[in-house]
């Protein structure tokens, strides 16, 4: 596509957004303003509903997906323009979901055309909300030791077992699950990837209350839950390949949250603590800690850019996703520790000052979810540094 074509596209996007993005959807949002979609979704406003419908119609909830599956078939360059233009007018995302982030990419890569046809458009339109069923109580870092059993019952599969850390499973419609289909094979070789409708008696969920007081995750129990045979993705017993793909994908996303690390906390500290006559933050020790943290934050952001660009040039991010995930999440933890240090006593009150305490506690999970920091360090040591196993 020529520069001119892209410029035309930009104009078209600008015009369309100007006309179609409701004013209310251009306001700053917090977590309860997110539109997750799903069978039981209650729109928080007419504007939210209209905005989703209009974007769905354009295929812009999933702009790079093929038109056949509810997308707009945009090129990377076009999609970037769309993102930029939306950001320029501060348009809220019309729809967020694990379907868009996780299952969609997996189906596009490993699904059959029929499977894509069945599931992708519903994701694009926000009709079905998805959860992820990976970890189990005894399969955390060692995910491949999972035991959820999936048995062939002729015309369908029956699933029995327990998953944990299933995000918002209590509000989800369907779940993509890693299951064991062969108990006699080596642990990585008996795993399959399957889609399960949660609207059945065999599936129950229970929210997990976290130390932050919130419950974004659930335990999900399968008791002879039914899955249709055509909903097994890829080959049977080859689900680990898909799992690994999605883990790397997830890692990049979580590492990407490191974007937060550069929200300038020096400025926040100046507001909260004030400066002395010498123009320096009045807490000299905290000042040193914040300066070091900000420098690492700058360096990390520059690394995200550099590695993303290298990836675009070919070869992908590879095992460096582990490095980004490790460093970004540890940095974010440091950042929130310093936010707490800066906030002082108002930060120790639940719900006080941007709820910094909840944010702080939430970050402690960053270095656990999507593979712990220790797992990432193992991966770096083995795959990048080529150090031997014991």
């Amino acid at each position: 596509m020529s520069e001119q074509d892209l410029e035309d596209f930009r104009k078209e996007v600008q015009n369309w957004l100007a006309e179609n993005c409701p004013e209310e959807m251009r306001q700053p949002m917090d977590s309860q303003d997110i539109c997750w979609g799903g069978r039981h979704w209650k729109f928080s406003s007419d504007a939210q509903k209209i905005w989703l419908e209009r974007m769905v119609e354009k295929g812009w909830t999933v702009p790079e997906w093929p038109k056949a599956y509810g997308g707009a078939g945009l090129s990377k360059a076009q999609a970037k323009i769309l993102r930029k233009e939306m950001k320029r007018i501060k348009a809220r995302p019309p729809l967020l979901s694990f379907g868009i982030w996780m299952l969609g990419p997996a189906l596009l890569k490993y699904g059959s055309d029929a499977q894509r046809q069945e599931h992708l458009p519903k994701i694009a339109r926000g009709e079905i909300r998805w959860a992820q069923g990976y970890s189990e109580p005894d399969a955390g870092s060692d995910l491949a030791s999972l035991k959820t059993r999936c048995e062939d019952r002729g015309d369908h599969y029956a699933i029995t077992g327990q998953k944990v850390w299933t995000s918002y499973a209590d509000q989800a419609d369907w779940i993509f699950v890693l299951v064991r289909t062969d108990f006699s094979a080596k642990k990585h070789e008996g795993i399959s990837f399957i889609l399960v409708d949660m609207d059945q008696p065999g599936v129950t969920t229970r929210p997990i209350k976290l130390i932050s007081g919130n419950s974004p995750f659930c335990e999900t129990f399968f008791d002879e839950a039914r899955a249709e045979k055509h909903n097994l993705i890829g080959e049977i017993n080859k689900g680990w390949t898909i799992a690994k793909y999605l883990l790397t994908h997830e890692r990049e996303m979580i590492g990407g949250m490191g974007g937060d690390v550069m929200r300038p906390i020096g400025d926040i500290a100046v507001q909260q603590i004030g400066k002395g006559e010498d123009g320096r933050l009045q807490d000299p020790i905290l000042r040193a800690d914040i300066a070091r943290m900000e420098i690492d934050g700058l360096a990390f952001m520059a690394t995200m850019d550099r590695i993303t660009q290298q990836a675009k040039a070919g070869g992908g991010v590879g095992a460096n996703a582990s490095m980004l995930k490790y460093y970004g999440t540890e940095l974010n933890k440091r950042r929130l520790e310093l936010m707490m240090d800066s906030a002082g006593s108002p930060g120790l009150v639940w719900g006080g000052e941007g709820d910094v305490a909840s944010q702080w506690l939430r970050t402690k999970a960053n270095s656990i979810e999507g593979g712990t920091s220790e797992v990432q360090l193992n991966i770096i040591a083995k795959r990048i540094l080529d150090l031997p196993s014991q």
């Binding site: 970890s135 005894d138 955390g140 870092s141 060692d142 030791s145 944990v164 850390w165 997990i208 209350k209 976290l210 130390i211 007081g213 909260q272 603590i273 807490d283 000299p284 020790i285 905290l286 800690d289 933890k333 520790e337 707490m340 240090d341 906030a343 002082g344 006593s345 108002p346 930060g347 120790l348 009150v349 639940w350 719900g351 006080g352 305490a357 506690l361 402690k364 999970a365 270095s367 656990i368 979810e369 712990t372 920091s373 220790e374 360090l377």
Partner: protein, 377 residues
């Protein structure tokens, strides 16, 4: 002074009592039941009966006068069980304030009741988001024989249950002037005092106290008019040393619970405690905690032997234990993995308490800076 053997007996009895009567499940219940006072009255009464509340009160006033070393042992054990009580506010800081600076009628009126856990004293000192005892705006204006107090204090621990407040007020000079600060002992039921509880992350009680034209007699002054900052710092140092001791107990408990988990949890077909990277981190944490315990012991010794000279050691201890206890709490969550993030599991209570204990009466940054200032650099 108390002998080594008595100290060890005290530790054993404290550990037994707290483990049985006031384990973490008590704190969880206080939280879930939204008990405004943030502690269990019955447990506190029993602590009084055992003499704990009088650990720093002279025998003449009904205490057991075992000293800061003993108070530190109790704080350390309470740190292990995260037992909530007004021990720090009343039995440490309240007792030190009244014993050292109270006049005869203040001592008679309060010390025996403090020692028996019948009355509770809370310290109202902070006015800003960060601890800074020299920053006092709350005004005490002379009125007749006495004073009128107007202003606000924040982050007042145990304000909900307090029967009396020790308040720092400005009787002269500007906001940051070290001179012109006066301490007052004020009964809770004095006209014009209102208390606003806050929902703290450690599930204990703290909040704001507003003084609205509170009229006091002249004998409400604690110590000398205008000369309150030095006494206040000694009262605070007693509390800071106690908090350091509490954090050392909390850190040790985090390590112990983590070690148990490391010995039991299996991943990749192995006990995770056999992974060398985790072993080294646990061994480093062990070393830090041991180092931390020693400086706490020194600070407590100094509080017993020469409290006027204890500031350097107390700040070193408070800064070090803030760092160590946060490290311990963070490492314990990380090594527990996902389960460490759940509210159902007790480990998360530690990081929340440690954060509050670190901030209370000066964060590690505050005390690192104070240490450097006292050292002259």
């Amino acid at each position: 002074m108390t002998s080594k053997e008595e100290m060890e007996m005290l530790r054993a009895s404290a550990s037994g009592f707290l483990g049985e009567k006031a384990p973490i499940s008590q704190l969880r219940r206080l939280r879930d039941d939204k008990i405004a006072e943030g502690f269990d009255r019955e447990t506190w009464t029993e602590m009084g009966a055992m003499g704990w509340a009088g650990v720093l009160v002279e025998e003449a006033h009904g205490g057991v006068a075992m000293g800061h070393g003993a108070a530190g042992i109790l704080m350390e054990e309470m740190g292990r069980t995260l037992t909530a009580s007004p021990f720090l506010s009343s039995a440490i800081m309240g007792a030190v304030a009244l014993s050292k600076y109270g006049n005869a009628s203040q001592q008679e009126g309060w010390l025996p009741a403090i020692a028996r856990a019948q009355k509770i004293i809370a310290l109202a000192v902070d006015e800003q988001r960060h601890h800074n005892p020299a920053h006092v705006k709350l005004q005490a204006v002379r009125a007749g024989n006495g004073f009128k107090l107007s202003g606000e204090k924040c982050f007042v621990a145990d304000c909900a249950a307090a029967d009396g407040f020790i308040v720092s007020a400005r009787t002269r000079g500007e906001e940051q002037d070290p001179d012109g600060i006066t301490l007052f002992l004020v009964s809770r039921d004095t006209q014009g005092i209102s208390v606003e509880n806050q929902n703290m992350i450690d599930s204990r009680n703290a909040g704001k106290v507003v003084f609205d034209d509170v009229a006091l007699e002249g004998d409400a002054v604690l110590g000398a008019v205008d000369k309150g900052l030095a006494p206040l710092n000694i009262i605070l140092d007693a509390g800071r040393a106690g908090l350091a001791a509490e954090m050392s107990g909390a850190a040790q408990e985090c390590l112990d619970r983590t070690l148990s988990y490391l010995k039991e949890r299996k991943q990749f077909g192995q006990t995770i405690g056999s992974f060398q990277a985790l072993q080294h981190r646990a061994a480093h944490l062990y070393s830090e905690i041991e180092i931390g315990k020693s400086i706490v012991a020194r600070a407590l010794q100094m509080m017993d032997s020469a409290p006027e000279m204890a500031a350097l050691m107390v700040s070193a201890a408070k800064a070090k234990l803030g760092q160590v206890a946060l490290l311990a709490a963070q490492e314990s969550i990380q090594m527990h993995g996902g389960i460490g993030m759940t509210d159902e599991f007790d480990i998360g209570f530690f990081i929340k308490r440690v954060r509050v204990a670190d901030a209370l009466y000066g964060s590690q940054q505050f005390h690192t800076n104070r240490y450097a200032e006292l050292r002259g650099f």
